[in-house]
Symmetry: C2
Subunit: 238 residues, 2 copies
C-alpha cells in the first residue's frame, strides 16, 4: 500500500515532515503517525502530534518501562536538571538517551512492515541534531536503513519504493525546515518544542532557543508565546 | 567496564551463549542478561532465563504494548494457531514478528551503552534461524552492528573491544550449539524451547522438533520430558 509511517513528536520538524510526506505520497497514500513516550519531560509535545490533522492514524508507543535501562540523560532521569542555553552547547550532551533513535526507528520499521507501508519510515532529524546526537547523522540513518532492508527482505526489497528509513531533512538546518513548513502551510502554533513542559514555552532551554533562532534566521514570524521572550541566543554564541 | 549484555530467552541457544560469554570475559567481567516479553506464547522460557546462575544481573523488558503494532505472527496474535512440524517448513513463516530482532538489539545496545559494557551485546542467533528469519542472518547482524557503532560513537569506537553486536553462533547449527554447551557444562534441563508453553515440552511444535533433532545429531542425551516423545522429525523431511 502507498502508505508511510512518520515518527512524530509534535515538534516543528516532525510536523513539517508529516506535511512533506503527505504531499509526496500518491493520492491514496496514508500517513501513519507514530509517537514515542519514553518518560521524557517533553511529553506535552505528544498532544500536538495526536491532534495533527495531516495524519490518517496516530499511535502512541509507551516505552517508559525502558527508562531504568537507558540512564545518563536529563530527558529520562528526573534527578538531572535540563540545562539552559544553546542547543549545541556541551551541556546539551546530557540530553542524549543511549540509542534512542535506533530504538524508535526499529519499532517504526516493524510497524511499517506490519502495515504494509511501502513508502517506509520517515524521521525528521536535521543537520542541527548532528553535533550531539550521533544517531541523527546521515551515516547512522544509512546504516539503520540498510539493517532494516536486510532484516526484512521480502518486504523492502520487493514492495519498497524508497529507502526503508528516510530522513529528508538530514542536511537541512532548522531555519530551512521553517521555510519549507511555511511553503507547506504548516501551522507552527500547533507544534511544541520546550523541554521543560510548562503551560507555554519557557524560552530559555536548548530547544526553545533553537526554535526562536530558526524563525529569526528564516525571517518567518514566530507565533510562539514564550515565558522569557527576550532570553538571547547571542549570549551563547560567545 | 569488562561487562557484556546477553539477550537471553531461556532457550538452549541463549543459555549456551551466556556460558560462552562468561567464559570469554576477563575475570571481573559481568554478564548482564536481558530478556524480552513481547506477549509471545513462549514466555515460560523467561523463568529459565531469570534463574540462570551464569548471569550477574537479569532484566526483563516488557514490550507487550508493541503487540498491536507488530501483527501477522502466531507468536503475538492469539487468533493464529502455532503450526506443528519442522521449524524450517513454510508454515513456520507465520512465526515471524516484523523486525523483532532489530527492536531487541536496539534496546540491548542502549542498555549496554548505559551500563558501559565494553564487551557489547550478544545474541544467540544461529544458522538454523536463517531460512525464515532474515533478521537472524549474518548480513543483518553486520548491518545492525554498524548502525549501533555509528549511532553511539564516543562509546563503541573508544571503549568497545569487540563488535557492538556479536553473534558467535551465527554459522553454527543447533546441534553444534548443543555440543558447545555440553563442553561448557550447561544444564540443558534448565532451558525451554516449546512455543506452546504447557507444563512440559509438547514435542510437536517447530522448536520442540528442532530441539529433539539437535540432541540426536549431536549425540548428546536429551534430558527433556516431552508430551509426545515419538513425534518424528523424519515425517517432515519429505
Amino acid at each position: 500500500m502507498n502508505d508511510a509511517v512518520v515518527i512524530i513528536s509534535g515538534g516543528m520538524d516532525s510536523t513539517v515532515l508529516a506535511a512533506y510526506v503527505k504531499d509526496l505520497l500518491p493520492p491514496d497514500g496514508l500517513v501513519h503517525g507514530l509517537s514515542f513516550n519514553y518518560g521524557q519531560r517533553h511529553f506535552k509535545e505528544l498532544g500536538y502530534a495526536r491532534r495533527n490533522e495531516t495524519l490518517s492514524s496516530w499511535t502512541e508507543v509507551n516505552l517508559q518501562n525502558l527508562n531504568p535501562l537507558l540512564q545518563g540523560s536529563s530527558l529520562t532521569s528526573p534527578d538531572i536538571e535540563v540545562p539552559d542555553g544553546h542547543y549545541a552547547a556541551e551541556t546539551m550532551k546530557q540530553t542524549v538517551v543511549p540509542n534512542r533513535n535506533m530504538i524508535m526507528l526499529s519499532i517504526a520499521v516493524g510497524y511499517a512492515v506490519s502495515k504494509q507501508s511501502s513508502f517506509g519510515v520517515w524521521t525528521g532529524v536535521h543537520a542541527g541534531d548532528h553535533f550531539i546526537y550521533p544517531d541523527c547523522r546521515p551515516e547512522f540513518i544509512k546504516a539503520a536503513s540498510k539493517a532494516a532492508s536486510v532484516g526484512n527482505e521480502g518486504f523492502w526489497d520487493t514492495v519498497g519504493k524508497l529507502q526503508a528509513i528516510n530522513a529528508p531533512f538530514s542536511e537541512m538546518t532548522k531555519a530551512q525546515i521553517v521555510e519549507l513548513g511555511t511553503q507547506l502551510e504548516v501551522n507552527f502554533a500547533q507544534t511544541w518544542s520546550c523541554y521543560k513542559g510548562g503551560m507555554i514555552h519557557c524560552g530559555r532551554c536548548g530547544t526553545c532557543v533553537e526554535r526562536k533562532e530558526a524563525f529569526a534566521i528564516a525571517g518567518v514570524p514566530d507565533p510562539t508565546p514564550y515565558e522569557d521572550p527576550i532570553f538571547e541566543v547571542a549570549a551563547f554564541h560567545g
